[in-house]
């Protein structure tokens, strides 16, 4: 009886050892796969870092301004902010005696070659 039990114990121990070895091996393989994946992630991160830096350089205001002046015939002029969200009245608050602000601006326009005046008055 005891001999049978001892044999059974040894058998179970052997099976457990085999099972654990298999788990350990699977863990090692998974770990290697993980390392490969992490190296790939690192490479992609490096690529993203390089692309991010290139994007920052490509979108430099100085570069954009130079390209726009060279290729788009756009003059380098300050923009005009006509209003801001802070100045808009609240939806549920009626306008009391506050003056109503209207947006208007006269923007100087450079003379364009090839354009000629065809009419001085419209809407007639």
């Amino acid at each position: 009886m005891m001999r049978t039990l001892n044999f059974a114990f040894i058998l179970v121990t052997g099976l457990v050892c085999l099972g654990l070895y298999r788990i350990a091996e699977e863990a090692r393989v998974a770990s290697a796969d993980l390392a490969v994946t992490e190296r790939a992630i690192t490479r992609e991160r490096s690529t993203m870092a390089v692309l991010g830096a290139e994007w920052a350089r490509a979108t430099q205001p100085a570069r954009i301004a130079a390209l726009a002046e060279r290729h788009l015939a756009l003059a380098d002029r300050p923009s005009i902010e006509l209003s801001s969200l802070a100045l808009l009245p609240h939806k549920n608050r009626p306008l009391a005696d506050e003056p109503v602000r209207t947006a208007k601006a006269i923007v100087p326009m450079p003379a364009q070659a090839g354009l000629k005046v065809v009419a001085f008055r419209t809407g007639m």
């Binding site: 457990v16 350990a24 770990s31 290697a32 993980l34 490096s46 870092a49 005009i80």
Partner: protein, 537 residues
């Protein structure tokens, strides 16, 4: 019974022993499993992963735009013992290195020498094509600055090992080495570009030797832009001239001239030593011992204190400063932080030059900005305290959205009075050329003759303008300085600040105000239109 119990006990003992042995074996296996699961995996995770993570944190502007970043590069090394004779010549031709330097390095007897750092992909290919034995590529990092030259002086540089050597790279060195994520600066690249462009155009228009500018939030102390010209391209590999490397806004000190009257008047108003409607005789030079103080242009002969400020009369300002005297003037300037170097994250901060004997003559000259030299950044911080309601601020290059709770240096009433005076300078005084339709700007011009030998050079000027907007409730300060500007045909030959720095500052404000979310003020535009129309004959 007794005879049968002995073998039974023996068997029980053996079973217990076997159980203990099995338990020990399982404990060992469990321990190993835990070790593999926890620590073995961690080792695998770190290997090869962190090598490519940036060693130094990114620098980004207040809107998250990238300014500086470590990027992976490859360096080329060589073992000279394995190289053929013509290696230096071939390598120099392939990767653009100095042949003589390579030849010296290969002949030095060292076992392993650096050939070139941070090779471009094309250079790597060219080196590989040579097929030389003894060449090794090593992965490394190099700091890149997509922000370019516009932001060069504020950001600074790192050395070959990636340690900061100047600018914020040095001032924030520890933070950059340990920060987990990007470090957000107070700088705004849009504002930086606008300031750099206008200051560069101003420098070119007036043929100035050098120029600079600062944009600062007067409540938070954040520096939104800092420009010093000439500048340099931070990514360039060739040596940079010391002149271009110098940050004139923090490393240099200047006698800033009449722009200093801001402090003379702030002191006088705060200490109630003048009333703004009080009159002063500025018709003839003010004699101080053997020195005579004069105005740059004929004024008066009688001006109110407000007009003394708006027309920038040296004679009137000296009389006002003499009422307080040297001790109170020095104490006031000390309170404003002008007698110490500006404390910021930038390591380059010049100490002011003050007179060793601070007597009546010095008091008079300091009142209009001669005899004391401060850095432009120190000046801007002190001027911000004058207009922000009267509390001292410390300039910072890190983003801080909350206003600083600094020490009170002047009363709110004095601050409001100074804002009124500065508005008068732009509407009716020497700073008219800084006016921008639709924006209520206040400011002060400053034209100083440069010190030369024991006197002053009358033709070598430092022209500066300090603008604040919107002047009713100031948010931003714009400082512009030109070093030795020359008059042009458009300025009728005048090179004073009203004709040179003031219009540049006006153009800067016109550009950046919309970017800062400030709409045109129709009421201001209408008032300006009315003012212009009343001036017409």
């Amino acid at each position: 019974m007794r005879a049968g119990s002995a073998p039974l006990n023996l068997v029980r003992g053996r079973i217990a022993l076997a159980a203990i042995f099995c338990a020990f074996a399982f404990a060992l296996i469990c321990a190993r499993l835990i070790d593999v699961a926890l620590f073995g995996n961690a080792v695998a995770a770190t290997s090869g992963h962190d090598r490519a993570i940036a060693l130094r944190a990114d620098l980004v502007d207040r809107n998250g735009v990238l300014i500086a970043r470590d990027l992976p590069v490859r360096d080329l090394y060589a073992r000279p013992a394995q190289l053929p004779d013509m290696a230096a010549h071939d390598l120099a031709a392939a990767i653009g290195s100095d042949e003589a330097r390579l030849a010296r390095a290969f002949a030095s007897g060292r076992g392993y020498v650096a050939v070139k750092r941070a090779l471009t992909p094309a250079e790597q290919d060219a080196a590989m094509q040579l097929g030389l034995p003894g060449l090794t590529f090593e992965d490394s990092y190099r700091r890149y600055y997509p922000g370019g030259s516009a932001v060069a002086h504020a950001i600074g540089q790192v050395d070959i090992d990636g340690h900061g050597v100047s600018g914020l790279e040095l001032g924030l060195d520890r933070l950059l080495s340990n920060a987990g994520g990007p470090i957000q600066l107070s700088l705004d690249m849009r504002i930086q570009y606008a300031l750099a462009r206008e200051v560069a155009e101003g420098q070119a228009t007036f043929g100035a030797k050098a120029a600079g500018g600062i944009v600062m939030n007067v409540h938070t102390g954040e520096v939104l832009a800092l420009v010093s010209l000439p500048n340099y391209e931070p990514d360039q590999r060739s040596p940079i001239s010391p002149d271009a490397m110098r940050n004139r806004m923090t490393q240099d000190v200047y006698e800033l001239g009449s722009i200093f009257k801001i402090f003379s008047f702030a002191e006088a108003v705060d200490e109630h030593s003048i009333r703004l409607d009080e009159t002063f005789n500025v018709g003839k030079p003010l004699q101080m011992g053997r020195y005579a103080i004069e105005d740059s242009h004929k004024l008066g002969p009688i001006l109110t204190a407000a007009r003394v400020f708006s027309e920038s009369s040296n004679i009137g300002t000296a009389q006002i400063a003499m009422r307080a005297g040297p001790d109170r003037q020095r104490a006031f300037l000390k309170r404003m932080g002008l007698l110490k170097p500006a404390k910021t994250e930038l390591p380059e901060s010049a100490a002011p030059l003050t007179p060793s004997h601070w007597k009546d003559v010095e008091t008079a000259t300091i009142s209009f900005g001669h005899g004391i030299s401060v850095s432009p950044l120190s000046f801007a911080a002190a001027a911000a305290a004058v207009v922000n309601g009267g509390t001292r601020i410390t300039p910072t290059f890190l983003r801080h959205d909350k206003p600083q709770a600094g020490e009170r240096v002047i009363s709110e009433k004095t601050s409001a009075a100074m804002r009124g005076l500065m508005r008068l300078v732009v509407t009716e005084g020497t700073g008219r050329n800084a006016d921008v339709p639709g924006y209520d700007i206040g400011g002060k011009t400053g034209t100083a003759e440069k010190a030369q030998g024991h006197g002053y050079a009358h033709k070598s000027l430092i022209s500066s303008f300090c603008g604040v907007f919107p002047i009713e409730a100031p948010q931003y300060l714009v400082f512009v300085m030109l070093d030795e500007p020359k008059g042009t045909k458009d300025t009728s030959g005048f090179a004073t600040a009203g004709y040179t720095s003031a219009p540049v500052a006006g153009r800067v404000i016109a550009r950046i105000a919309p970017l800062l979310g400030m709409p045109r003020n129709d009421a201001v535009a209408a008032a300006e239109g009315q003012r212009e129309s009343t001036k017409e004959p």
